[in-house]
């Protein structure tokens, strides 16, 4: 039986068109896009075509607002540190939330050791930030608000438009880490009113190791990498052209397919959520019922630990990820799950199931059966399950 990938939040398979374009690009042996001769110009043309394709996906004003990076992590680091360094004369205060990705959290920690102060807002039990609290947290010293778009652990989407409007009214720059959203849900930078948007190609079936940062024209930002004048002086270093060409093709297809793609993914997710109670009791769904990524479900299975579930599902032929403390390597419960009010105990049994366009309804059914088998086995081993049953 073939292995079923239900871990599309970690990565996605390349679209066939993307693969073809990248193979063609390797075969073509492009020169350096910064070179002034004909071979360089040809490479530069390919680079700019990809930039236009990505700009189209985000509805940027001009392709110049797109900077290519090595992925979501670099984009986020660039946005936060670059804005902080370039605007430190105006103030040294940044507003964010408790549920950000480590790329945001650790970039901000680095800045704290450099004299910046950070206000990190809590979320309600559905995982959403109250925009009113963002407004209240902004001070005359605030130079940046950074709030994630779709959360990688719960799938919950923040009220980004409202938060962006608040930041704009207060003349504070607004960054959103949209690494898990761009290419999955329609995201129009002009509609949102964001100044900076981080994204990654592998979210929308492009290659890993390539991403981008949307920087609205006029935003004051320093490069993260100093060196040459590539990327309009915003990101030094010869571009990863093969990866960028792949990203461009993936972006063009995402822009074309985003509505049916989202509907297909949501169909799989809805089926899973509808049928889950028929196979398992005592599961907490951490994903917002309305405001969430169409492909992601976070489910905390009570009385079992996520890594065990993940390992047994792996044996059954299904790849999922878990946010249990034991499996994350950090040996601590996920800050996101604790922020939405889960107990340490319940957070331990949290699985992240992320559907992809390569999954089918039949796979969802087989997965539900496998999940039932695995959880039943582990609950039989668990001392917590028996205790809980006695209480009931």
């Amino acid at each position: 039986m073939t292995y079923v990938n239900l871990d599309h939040i970690s990565s996605n398979p390349l679209l066939p068109e993307v693969k073809q374009a990248m193979i063609a690009a390797i075969t073509h042996d492009y020169h350096n896009p910064s070179s002034q001769h004909k071979a360089g110009e040809e490479a530069a043309a390919a680079l700019e075509q990809a930039r236009a394709q990505v700009a189209g996906l985000l509805n940027a004003d001009t392709p110049k607002e797109i900077v290519f990076t090595s992925g979501g992590t670099e984009s986020v680091n660039h946005a936060i540190k670059g804005v902080a360094m370039a605007n430190a004369d105006k103030g040294k205060h940044i507003v964010t939330t408790n549920i950000e990705h480590n790329a945001v959290i650790r970039s901000l920690r680095r800045l704290k050791s450099d004299g910046f102060t950070v206000t990190s807002l809590s979320v309600d039990e559905t995982g959403r930030v109250n925009p009113g609290e963002v407004a209240a947290a902004i001070t005359p010293e605030t130079i940046l608000v950074s709030v994630m778009h779709g959360n990688n652990e719960t799938g919950t989407i923040q009220p980004i438009e409202e938060i962006a409007r608040i930041a704009r009214d207060k003349k504070v720059l607004f960054h959103t880490d949209a690494v898990d959203s761009v290419g999955i849900v329609p995201l129009d930078v002009k509609n949102i009113g964001a100044d900076l948007v981080s994204f990654a190609a592998n979210t929308f079936y492009g290659p890993t190791g390539v991403g981008g940062l949307y920087i609205r024209r006029g935003v004051k930002i320093f490069p993260l990498l100093d060196g040459g004048v590539q990327e309009h002086n915003k990101r030094a270093g010869t571009e990863n052209l093969v990866g960028i060409i792949g990203m461009g093709v993936a972006a063009e297809i995402a822009a074309r397919d985003i509505v049916p793609r989202g509907a297909y993914l949501k169909g799989l997710k809805d089926k899973f959520l509808r049928e889950l109670p028929q196979v398992l009791d005592e599961v907490i769904i951490n994903t917002h019922p309305v405001h969430s990524l169409p492909h992601l479900v976070s489910a905390s299975v009570k009385y079992v630990e996520g890594e065990s579930v993940m390992l047994m599902l792996d044996d059954e032929g299904f790849g999922v990820s878990t946010r249990s403390a034991c499996a994350t390597g950090s040996l601590r419960a996920s800050h996101v799950l604790l922020s939405i009010g889960l107990s340490h105990e319940d957070a331990q049994g949290t699985l992240v199931i992320a559907f992809g366009i390569d999954n089918t309804a039949e796979q969802v059914e087989r997965f539900l059966n496998a999940l039932k088998t695995v959880v039943t086995t582990l609950r039989e081993i668990s001392p917590l399950y028996k205790k809980s049953a006695a209480v009931r």
Binding site: E305, E307, A325, C326, L331, Q348, I381, S382, P383, L384
Partner: protein, 171 residues
Amino acid sequence: MMYNKVVMDHFRNPRNVGTLEDADGVGEVGNPLCGDMMTIYLKIKEDRIDDIKFQTFGCGSAIAVSSMLTEIAKGKRLAEAKKITNKDVAAALEGLPKNKLHCSNLGADALQLAIRDYEDRKAGITRPAPKRKDEHEHSHGDKCYCPYCDVEIDDGVTFCEACQHDLKEEH
């Protein structure tokens, strides 16, 4: 795969799972805060571990540790069983990932508590039922170690300067 074949075998086919209704001794360690809880049930006959069962809430290594411990302890005289350490269990499993050594390798502790429970009952000593701990607990001596790089760290620190890892209170 982060676990070796022996660990995966014990995780996939755990030995001696369950409870013993009329157990002579019961020992429970760990807390769900760290992610692992183990309960050991003993049946003692003529100073020997006649039967042993376990229940575990925890990761792959926690289940494998419990299973291996029961295999090592079964049939042993109490005097010998008292010498079993967490290190012995990890060695029998041919090693555990470094970051799991300090958290999920608690099987021998549960066994020792179960033996003490048996001896207490025999001597007619009643101790208050141990409360489930929700706080930081040292299961490995007085020192704290980073679960990632194993350097010694101070109690209560939340960040390992040596390897730049976030920590909570469970080191």
